[in-house]
């Protein structure tokens, strides 16, 4: 029970120097320790990030040979005969494009529905938690689940079918589809946030001009959310580029890209391959390829791609966004 006798003095009375710069703040000891720890943690993180980049730069430049980027990987016992990693680079690009092509429109669609319609509300809540669950599921679990689904004969047209009708379930298609799931929550989140930052009166201004919901979304809300959408999609691409588990389980992680015989593009998408992440894993000392120098070189390329994507996110975030008074 607090004694009601002494009401605290109104704070207004003791702040005559409101416009002047704040005088010295006296910090308690606990605050000082807390600040010091936060400061130290920040510095430590910078050191770690810096040493990763520096080490990979050092290793990468040491082992990276431009010819590695343009030659196919080969099977060989001797490190000098195992070729380059052109196929993994192509695989990374192809898989990222596929995953993004699925995740971006689906993610934006979900975000628009949640933010602009969201009815019935039980369905909106269910969709919301669905997105959260997907976001929280480890990619290896998603991958195994994907394999289970895509090995059904119903999905046979998406991957290689062996004699005796056993569906392989592994292809750029199936890997791309599951990859889109790990990018999806980021697209949904960023788009939704951008939509919700648009004040209600902006939507109403469009309705007041006789526009319906659809054209308001298309002509006003989505253009105003470009920055958020761009950020979400780029972050999602970063996730896809960096994922290993899905590639191992669903892309086959074959050394070279192995298109299925038949039509060129369709065959390629039905075929298997690998990405930089699985290439690094396989050639690292723990993998089977045993070409650590090439693993370092490939890891360096991977790091460059990821840093580039981060840079793009930064660039988008710096763009001026339309702002209204609420």
């Amino acid at each position: 029970m607090s004694a009601p006798t002494q009401a605290p003095a109104p704070p207004v009375a003791v702040q005559p120097s409101r416009s002047r710069p704040t005088p010295e703040i006296s910090w308690s000891r606990g605050d000082k320790i807390g600040v010091a720890m936060a400061w130290g943690a920040g510095i430590l993180l910078c050191l770690i990030a810096g040493s990763i980049v520096a080490y990979m730069l050092f290793r990468g430049i040491q082992y990276l040979d431009l010819s590695l980027l343009f030659s196919h990987p080969q099977v060989g016992l001797d490190q000098s005969k195992t070729g380059g990693f052109l196929d993994p680079i192509e695989g990374t690009v192809l898989l990222t494009v596929l995953g993004t092509l699925i995740a971006a429109p689906v993610g934006v669609g979900i975000a628009v529905w949640l933010s602009e319609y969201g009815r019935p509300s039980w369905l909106a809540r269910t969709v919301e938690s669905g997105v959260e669950i997907v976001a929280g599921t480890p990619s290896i679990v998603l991958a195994i689940f994907g394999l289970l689904v895509f090995q059904q004969s119903f999905f046979g047209f998406l991957s290689f079918t062996a004699e005796g009708n056993a569906v392989f379930g592994r292809s750029f298609f199936t890997a791309g589809a599951i990859m889109s799931l790990i990018a999806l929550p980021l697209v949904v989140g960023a788009t939704r946030e951008a939509l919700q930052a648009i004040p209600a009166h902006v939507r109403e201004a469009s309705y007041a001009l006789g526009k319906d919901r659809i054209s308001t979304i298309r002509r006003v809300l989505l253009p105003a959310s470009q920055r958020g959408i761009g950020t979400g999609v780029t972050l999602g691409m970063g996730r896809i580029v960096g994922d290993t588990a899905i590639v191992v389980v669903l892309l086959g992680a074959s050394l070279q890209i192995e298109p299925e015989n038949g039509t060129p593009v369709w065959g390629l998408l039905k075929g298997t391959g690998s990405t930089l992440t699985t290439y690094v894993y396989n050639n690292s000392p723990v993998g089977e390829g045993n070409a650590p120098e090439k693993a370092y070189a490939a890891a360096f390329v991977l790091l460059v791609i990821v840093i580039f994507l981060n840079f793009v996110v930064d660039l988008i975030a710096r763009r001026k966004e339309p702002s209204w008074t609420r």
Partner: protein
């Protein structure tokens, strides 16, 4: 415009709730929404922040205006609107005429915005809002209209300028596009767009940058752009909800002049907390209090010799 008379522009009341009560007019929406409506008493004398000088300010004079013969375009008949249990507008019957400006005044939370938003059926979008009574546009019930068609005929301007994130040209052309099955070309749109910008008094300032983003304009220019955007689709009624409360005195004056000049072709309703503004632009005034229409009449009469006690208190609280 007299620099001594504080207009309701300049400061956003939402941002400085502490000082507002002392120095500025009272449209502090957030505070009112949070307190029970019965707590909203008519402002005591002086609390509106109008300095005593305002009494003699020339800005109290009515703006010069052309003679018109008003024609009734819209009317409400026993209009009531409730948000769930809460009655926001109670049995209001009003006539809105082309050829004159109708000012809706009253303390914060008395239902002005609600009434205004019901006229173009924007309240229909608020979940839980219920409407009773009738609203007629040219004798026809607004519920019988296709809502998009109704909103083309009854335009609206908001308190905060809200241009769309596109070029100045595209903002004004926004309402004209996607009308029919085939898209009008830019050349076809040019004439109506430029005309609308002229009527909103903005053309001279933007004629060389029609392709610049609209959100790069100043607040006052943005608000005039929003007027142009509404005018482009040739509305017959224009609803303005505190259109100048976020603007500087000069922009306010330009917009007031535009309003007065438009009234010959368009029936205009303006909600304002600035009684001086109401006096400058309005031909008729409606005073609302806690959802009821207390007094309605010619502007000079309502301000000069109000009949109802409430009106007298409110109006005198405003200027001495």
């Amino acid at each position: 415009m007299d620099p001594l008379s504080p207009l309701d522009g300049g400061t956003d009341p939402m941002r400085e709730p502490m000082t507002v009560a002392a120095q500025l007019p009272p449209p502090v929406r957030r505070i009112v929404v949070e307190t029970p409506p019965t707590a909203v008493s008519p402002p005591p004398p002086g609390s509106n922040g109008h300095s005593p000088h305002a009494m003699v300010a020339p800005s109290l004079r009515r703006m010069p205006r052309a003679q018109t013969t008003p024609i009734e375009r819209m009317r409400t008949e026993a209009l009531s609107i409730a948000y769930g249990e809460k009655l926001a507008v109670n049995q209001v019957s009003l006539s809105i005429r082309q050829g004159e400006v109708l000012a809706l005044i009253g303390p914060s939370g008395c239902g002005k915005t609600t009434l205004l938003r019901s006229l173009n059926r924007l309240v229909d979008l608020t979940p839980g809002a219920i409407r009773g009574g009738r609203i007629l546009l040219d004798g026809e019930d607004v519920d019988s209209f296709d809502v998009t068609l109704l909103r083309r005929r009854v335009g609206m301007l908001f308190q905060q300028p809200n241009p769309f994130p596109m070029s100045i040209f595209d903002n004004v052309a926004y309402g004209l596009r996607e009308r029919g099955s085939k898209k009008p070309s830019r050349r076809q749109l040019e004439t109506p767009v430029i005309e609308a910008l002229h009527r909103a008094g903005l053309f001279e300032e933007v004629k060389d940058n029609l392709d610049h983003p609209a959100l790069a304009l100043s607040g006052g220019q943005q608000q005039r752009l929003c007027i142009a955007r509404s005018l482009a689709i040739q509305p017959e009624v224009l609803l303005l909800d505190e259109p100048c409360s976020a603007l500087d005195p000069i922009s306010t004056q330009v917009i007031e002049e535009t309003i007065v000049s438009l009234r010959t072709e368009i029936a205009i309703v303006i909600v304002t907390h600035n009684l001086q503004q109401a006096q400058r632009v309005a031909d008729h005034v409606a005073f609302m209090y806690l959802g009821d229409l207390i007094e309605y009449g010619e502007a000079e009469r309502v301000f000069g010799s109000p009949v109802a006690e409430r009106t007298r208190e409110y109006v005198s609280g405003g200027f001495g």
